[in-house]
């Protein structure tokens, strides 16, 4: 399904704001998500991603600005909107004392679907989530990855137009993450609009057509992964490890070779469009690096550049 330019956006936020007491979690953001898109909110912890997701999910009234989801106002039409959304919350909300299948059956009832329809969809969804063999086992002993897949399967029981995923793969092992990405990719291909938050850059690059980077409640960058890299980073990055305990001493000696130099405890990052050429000059200057690595710039470089390397807890 390709979005038509005249399609009304599924999500339209203008100056959307959320305060908790004196704390401003979301500070006047503008967002538009169109049908068929995979849209990502990126940002460090505390950037305001989850607060934004909760407002869109109609479980947190905005403090300011306007928000329309599926063309409706979450404050007055929350229940109607939620009936057409699929929600995968950051922390699972499964009933662990029920079986895998029962979790879907009960959840389907919340949407007022007839039992026969739910039963049929449950079987399909369990197949989709690769959980058919565990269908009649209790949820509690399942692995984190299986619970996550069940949460996603369950969120699809009402055939949502818009699937909201809040950090869908956080805490999963690589196999489980890839299995989940595969499922999400299939959903995207089948035309479901995806909105997800993540702090995994590879996840954003794999899944998102378009994304915003949030920091401190604001949107600091917006575009496709490729656009963001070209706008906020150079094409390549040269990583230099030198025989020194303090790489900062060498910053001045290479700063003319790159548009930007970043000093890390164990290496220098030179942001440049031609990493090999820069590496050659470094050698010619007799700096004798222990190792050089030229790589393409990634979304992670953009992310760290925009939101800083300081740890936020």
């Amino acid at each position: 399904m390709v979005a038509q330019p005249d399609d009304p956006p599924l999500i339209a936020a203008r100056g959307l704001t959320k305060h908790f007491g004196d704390f401003t979690a979301v500070d006047g953001i503008d967002v538009e998500v169109r049908r068929g898109e995979a849209f990502g909110f990126l940002g460090p912890n505390g950037a305001g991603k989850s607060s934004t997701m909760r407002m869109i999910g109609c479980v947190s009234p905005p403090s300011g600005g306007t928000l329309r989801v599926l063309g409706m106002d979450p404050i007055t039409h929350g229940s109607q909107i939620r009936g057409r959304l699929g929600v995968v919350p950051q922390r699972d909300t499964l009933d662990e004392e029920l079986t895998v299948r029962e979790n879907i059956l009960v959840y389907g009832r919340y949407f007022g679907l007839p039992r026969s329809v739910i039963r049929e969809r449950a079987t399909e969804l369990l197949e989709f989530a690769q959980l058919s063999e565990r269908a009649d086992e209790l949820v509690e002993p399942l692995s984190g990855g299986m619970k996550r897949r069940l949460t996603i399967a369950r969120s699809l029981v009402n055939e949502p137009e818009l699937l909201m995923l809040d950090e869908p793969t956080t805490g999963l092992d690589p196999q489980a993450r890839h299995a989940l990405w595969d499922r999400l990719f299939r959903l995207k291909r089948s035309g479901v609009t995806l909105v997800l938050t993540t702090h995994y850059m590879d996840e954003a690059e794999q899944l998102c057509d378009r994304l915003v980077v949030m920091d401190g409640g604001r949107i600091v960058a917006e575009g496709s992964p490729r656009q963001l890299i070209s706008e906020h980073s150079t094409r390549e990055v040269l990583e230099l490890r030198l025989a020194t305990d303090d790489h900062e001493l060498y910053e001045a000696k290479v700063s003319d070779l790159a548009t930007r130099v970043e000093v890390l405890p164990d290496r220098l990052l030179l942001y440049t469009d031609d990493g090999d050429a820069a590496a050659k000059i470094v050698h010619e200057r007799g700096l004798a690096p222990l190792s050089t690595l030229v790589r393409r710039a990634t979304l992670e470089d953009v992310f760290l550049h925009l939101t800083g390397r300081t740890l936020i807890d």
């Binding site: 229940s79 919350p89 029962e102 919340y110």
Partner: protein, 254 residues
């Protein structure tokens, strides 16, 4: 849409009912046997001959009925409510669907009332077989037990939704539920208490519930008396529901 929330708790109960049998059915029967038959033999052999001329077993059974309604309701409104907010988070799942706060709270309260109706019916049946209940009027005590359950469950849901962890529940059980169980007329008439304590006992909801159940089971209840007790419980339930809605909303809608 509250029936959709109820559907969840019924499905859940189908998985966990075994664990509720001990506390729900055996415990009141143990009290009936130990107190009614053990202690009761002594009471009935005493100078007054039973309590106000009534066999102790007959006096006790409706008291246990009311107390059991309280205990079932309080238990079902503490851990499951905090769990649905904090641990398993089933309330959040409901809220991600079209259900609203009133549906979530009402659905859960109706489930608690069904649980109370269930344990009460089983208790009354068994107590009747034991000869501890002899009047058909006890059939009216069943809806009273359910109303008692609601009158306790609703404010306790409000309390539970404000807890950060389960330590508050221990306080609730130790300092509210247990004293009420012991001193609100379940085991002996509150007139036996010192006057100050008797007055306190008479304003507890359990005393009103016990009086109602006992008055019906022993066929001594007057219409005016019954109306006053019912009114008390209805008002408590009404206030409790309002508080429960406020607390759950405050906790879930950030």
């Amino acid at each position: 849409m509250w029936n959709r929330a109820l559907a969840h708790w019924l499905a859940h109960y189908r998985r966990v009912w075994r664990g509720t049998i001990i506390s729900g059915i055996l415990q009141p029967l143990f009290f009936l046997l130990a107190m009614g038959m053990g202690l009761g033999t002594l009471v009935d052999a005493g100078t007054s001959g039973g309590i106000e001329g009534v066999d102790y077993l007959l006096f006790l059974a409706p008291g246990i009925l009311a107390a059991q309604a309280m205990q079932t309701a309080v238990f079902e409104s503490t851990f499951p409510v905090l769990g649905a907010i904090k641990w398993q988070r089933q309330y959040h799942a409901m809220l991600a669907a079209p259900l609203g706060i009133p549906d979530i709270v009402l659905g859960h309260l109706v489930f608690v009332m069904m649980r109370v109706a269930m344990t009460s019916t089983i208790f009354v049946t068994i107590a009747t077989l034991f000869g501890a209940i002899t009047s058909w009027w006890v059939l009216l005590a069943l809806p009273v037990a359910v109303l008692t359950g609601l009158a306790f469950a609703a404010p306790v849901v409000a309390f539970a939704a404000r807890q950060r962890n389960e330590s508050g529940f221990n306080m609730l059980f130790r300092f509210i539920v247990l004293p009420m169980f012991l001193f609100s007329g379940t085991f002996f008439p509150v007139e036996q208490l010192p006057t100050a304590l008797e007055l306190i006992a008479r304003i507890t909801p359990l005393w009103h519930a016990v009086e109602l159940c006992r008055g019906l089971a022993l066929e001594t209840m007057t219409l005016a008396g019954a109306a006053a007790h019912v009114a008390y419980l209805v008002v408590l339930a009404g206030i409790g529901i309002q508080l429960a809605l406020m607390s759950v909303r405050k906790r879930l809608i950030l």
